[in-house]
């Protein structure tokens, strides 16, 4: 029974996609029920796979139409779920489920919602299928469905300025990614006469010939475009801003992770090339540049969602850097950060969506002082901001911690100064991330309330539930990271490093051994560095002491005074004796000293982010050329 679950989970979503349009285009009740049922059942099916795959270490395989291999060649399409696939599949299903729940409240005022949910379910099915499939061409098909559903959803609010433009950019760059991947797959097919990933892995088996390098370079560039690493990141900012927030959350939470999954699958399992230091260095460099460019661009943004979009790029840079280190520690950190990014970035996009629904804008220069009106949203935002900046005890801290550990271990082992620079970059980028979230905090939630937002209220329950759930998960994953590691990260990272079982399960026992594939045994990663429980206890002790001293010792002499009366001058804000005027320090007014010093850098960046599709295409082609050339020069 259980082996049918992966394919059913995907199929159900595809089926529901069309049912929504047929039965629910007029009736919101039907539409929402179909969407909710499909996403919930699919999530439950994926959750049911945790026990056999993650805990018992099985690999689940399924041949479509029972077309099992004939004469040692896989001809049918196979689904194969190992711990790595399941790890990403879990993230996909959970994100889409939360997004669906959020959509019911968030999208209710939009029109043509039948189309919306059709595309939404297509997108979720394709990303889920991409993570579960064991056939590289099937993966390409899923990428195509994913790209086109994403393009349509980006342009869903096409009455908004910039939506169609964003969709067009996404379409052009996304199609380039798909075609690069397709070319790479065609080269592989020509060489190996098979499309099954397990069989490809055993046939290629460390082959470094020219055609293989070409295929590897093209496929990595293709997935790089899907995960928006620099220099392919350009459409992401527009698309995330223009899409409805429930979709931005999915884009940033899962669609770009699909690219990361593809890269891990291709580089670690199909080509098994991640032990080559040249490939590691190339990808780590791309990752480091991505995190730096992403965060510096985010610092200058005036638009909430656009700022979050650039942070997505930056955080994907962290993930790529960590998984490209080629070590078990790096993979663990990278996968953990991918998971955490899904949580906290989803949360941040949801708070942005909440602000947008209630105020009608996400412009940082036109907001301010919402914390008194939207307390739940503010707390959720602060949790998300703390997590993305990597402050303890949130989840971002735990995963960044492991990644730093992996990076400096790598720096020590390889004795390469480059990795020391990467560690410094990662730490500085973390501070810059903090800086840009301080900017959002000041510009949106604190500061002075604008008169036009006097009547703003807290968002509805359907929007609160996903936000609070994610905020709680952010804290949970930060405190109980050892549990997460044992159940999810260790199986997933060892699945990426050991592909013998993956091949044998698909192609029959002993197939991998005949092809000369061996496992690399790894021990579970231990995080002895950071023990959140002890920390919370210490924090609690001092907190109680301070609180007792203040309340008992001084309360009678110095009470805390608060008043909302508008006449008592005692509670006014200080204005040097001048008349009190509206004077919110907005988003663009912060950090000018920094921006001034970096004028030259920002001029170059401004020229690169010109908004012209041909420029972006050129950048993507150049990026691909660099990857392919670097592979040819350094790998062989």
């Amino acid at each position: 029974m259980i082996q049918h679950f992966p394919v059913l989970a995907v199929m159900l979503l595809f089926l529901a996609a069309f049912q929504v349009e047929i039965f629910g285009s007029k009736n919101a009740q039907v539409r929402n029920s179909i969407t909710f049922a499909a996403t919930t059942i699919s999530l439950l099916m994926i959750l049911a796979l945790i026990k056999p795959v993650m805990i018992d270490g099985q690999i689940i395989s399924y041949w479509m139409g029972n077309w099992s291999p004939v004469g040692g060649y896989a001809i049918g399409i196979g689904y194969e779920v190992d711990a790595l696939s399941l790890f990403f599949a879990l993230l996909v299903s959970a994100t889409f489920w939360l997004s669906a729940v959020y959509s019911f409240g968030y999208m209710e005022k939009d029109h043509h919602l039948g189309h919306y949910y059709t595309l939404f379910l297509m997108l979720s099915a394709s990303v889920l299928g991409l993570t579960l499939t064991g056939d590289i061409f099937n993966m390409f098909v899923m990428i195509e469905v994913m790209t086109f559903a994403s393009v349509a959803l980006t342009a869903f609010r096409n009455n908004n300025e910039g939506a169609l433009e964003a969709a067009f950019k996404y379409l052009v760059i996304g199609s380039m990614g798909s075609s690069f991947t397709l070319t790479g797959i065609a080269l592989l097919y020509g060489k190996c006469h098979t499309l099954n990933m397990a069989q490809l892995s055993s046939i290629l088996s460390g082959d470094l010939s020219g055609s293989t390098m070409m295929a590897l370079g093209l496929i990595i560039a293709g997935f790089g475009i899907k995960s928006y690493i620099v220099p392919f990141h350009t459409p992401a900012a527009d698309a995330y801003t223009a899409a409805p927030t429930s979709i931005s959350m999915v884009f940033s939470g899962m669609v770009n992770k699909a690219g990361v999954y593809g890269m891990i699958r291709v580089a670690y399992i199909i080509f098994r090339a991640m032990d080559k230091s040249a490939l590691q260095t190339i990808l780590v460099l791309f990752g480091a540049v991505t995190m730096f460019v992403g965060v510096t661009m985010a610092l200058t943004q005036h638009e909430f969602k656009r700022l979050l979009a650039f942070h997505s790029i930056s955080q994907i840079g962290y993930v790529i850097t960590a998984v490209s280190l080629g070590s078990a520690l790096g993979l663990t950190g990278g996968l953990f950060h991918a998971m955490n990014h899904t949580l906290f970035k989803g949360l941040l996009f949801l708070t942005a969506g909440a602000v947008l629904t209630k105020t009608g804008t996400t412009n940082l220069d036109k907001l301010g002082g919402l914390s008194k009106k939207m307390p739940v949203t503010t707390v959720c935002f602060l949790v998300g901001a703390g997590a993305i900046s990597g402050l303890p005890p949130f989840n971002g801290f735990a995963s960044k911690w492991i990644m730093y550990q992996a990076m400096y271990t790598k720096a020590v082992e390889s004795h390469n100064f480059l990795y020391a620079v990467v560690v410094i970059t990662a730490l500085v980028v973390s501070v810059m991330t903090l800086a840009s979230f301080i900017k959002v905090t000041q510009a949106v939630f604190f500061g002075q309330l604008r008169p036009e937002y006097e009547d703003v209220t807290e968002v509805s329950m359907s929007m609160k539930i996903p936000m609070v759930t994610m905020a709680v998960l952010c804290v949970f994953c930060g405190v109980f990271y050892n549990l997460i590691n044992r159940v999810f990260l260790y199986p997933a990272s060892s699945a990426a490093l050991n592909c013998v079982n993956y091949i044998d399960r698909m192609m029959g026992e002993g197939y991998a051994e005949n092809a000369g594939v061996a496992n690399i045994e790894t021990a579970p990663v231990e995080f002895s560095y950071w023990n959140p429980i002890v920390w919370l206890v210490l924090f609690g002790i001092i907190f109680c002491a301070v609180a007792i001293v203040i309340l008992k010792g001084f309360a009678d002499r110095g009470p805390i005074l608060e008043s909302n009366s508008s006449t008592d001058a005692k509670y006014d804000t200080f204005f040097s004796g001048e008349q009190e005027l509206f004077s919110q320090v907005g988003g663009s007014d912060l950090f000018w000293g920094f921006k001034k010093n970096w004028g030259g850098y920002y001029r170059i960046m401004g020229a690169l982010h010109s908004g012209i599709v041909t420029d972006y295409t050129t950048m993507a082609v150049i990026g691909t050329a660099i990857i392919v050339l670097a592979l040819f020069v350094f790998m062989r």
Binding site: I438, Y529, I542, N564
Partner: protein
């Protein structure tokens, strides 16, 4: 039994020594000496050394006003978080021979806790709703970005040097032990640029002139602290005093590690004396002879000159010198 003993021990460590109480007392002492010495340098008599303590007690007794525009929870929570994170840092800094806690990544923990205390100040100031505070937090953040790069590089240089041939270590115990065996880093020529860079980072971290752009009493009326009063302001002032001890103590641990008399009482006295000397050297003197920098100059200074010094050390250490 051992569990109860461990609990009592950690409560003692975090509340009395070297945690909250010791840090507060020694920090206020440093602040008092700083004020006294600077007054003498400027040909004034200056307040008594106990003055910061009196100021603190007076503030604790005053009423705390939450402005109408402020978010109450964040406004009042920030000073407490600031104080707690600072008290926690001291648990990781060896008082010469004595360390309360030591793990394998103390340096990173310290880096993060310092960041948290900065964030508490920024978020607290931001929540007060004052435009002066808005400008102040932006400057505080730029200051943080400025010193963070050299700070990280210094920590990496120390970690690499203390790791020896084996690699890197972020453990305070290992750093102290290495210096005990091989001589203090302050007297190792390849580490001297990093030590100078660290001395320049200290006043920026504490928010002392010429790097006090965030508070800038004469321009933006103490920026983030403008709306604070009573106990909340007292806690922030105490936090600044504690930061003086923490930063000078961190210098002592990183560059003068291994100095120890073997007796804990003498060690504490010697530690405080070293901190006083460092305070007078890198904060009071600099404060007395310089005027406030502009924000963009501050940023440029740290990312070119100070980061350059740190980089020299890092490269030298990386080359095995």
């Amino acid at each position: 039994m051992t569990i109860i003993f461990t609990i009592i021990k950690s409560i003692f460590y975090s509340l009395v020594f070297p945690g909250l109480l010791f840090t507060a007392a020694a920090g206020l002492l440093l602040a008092g000496i700083d004020r006294k010495v600077i007054a003498r340098m400027q040909k004034r008599i200056g307040p008594p050394i106990r003055q910061p303590l009196f100021d603190f007690l007076k503030l604790m007794g005053k009423e705390t006003i939450v402005p109408r525009r402020a978010n109450r929870l964040v406004f009042l929570g920030a000073p407490v978080v600031n104080l707690i994170s600072l008290a926690l840092i001291m648990l990781f800094i060896p008082v010469l021979g004595f360390t309360a806690f030591s793990g394998s990544a103390d340096l990173i923990v310290i880096l993060y806790l310092i960041t948290i205390s900065g964030v508490a100040l920024i978020v607290g100031g931001s929540s007060s709703g004052s435009p002066y505070a808005g400008i102040g937090i932006s400057r505080e953040m730029v200051t943080m970005m400025s010193y963070e790069l050299p700070f990280v590089m210094i920590l990496l240089a120390v970690a690499k040097k203390a790791g020896g041939a084996a690699g890197m270590t972020f453990s305070m115990d290992a750093i102290t032990a290495f210096q005990r065996a091989n001589g203090s880093f302050l007297f190792t020529w390849s580490m001297i640029p990093a030590a100078i860079a660290f001395l320049l980072v200290i006043p920026a971290e504490v928010g002392m002139q010429p790097f006090d752009v965030a508070e800038a009493e004469t321009e933006i009326c103490e920026g983030p602290l403008i709306e604070y009063s009573g106990a909340a302001l007292g806690l922030f002032k105490l936090g600044t005093a504690m930061k003086m001890l923490i930063m000078t103590g961190l210098f002592t641990a990183l560059f003068l590690g291994g100095v120890s008399t073997g007796m804990i009482g003498l060690d504490i006295i010697l530690f405080v004396i070293i901190c006083i000397v460092l305070t007078v050297l890198c904060m009071t003197t600099v404060h007395a002879v310089t005027a406030r920098l502009k924000i963009e100059h501050l940023f440029k200074f740290f990312w070119t000159f100070v980061a350059g010094l740190a980089l020299v050390s890092l490269v030298l250490v990386w080359c095995g010198l």
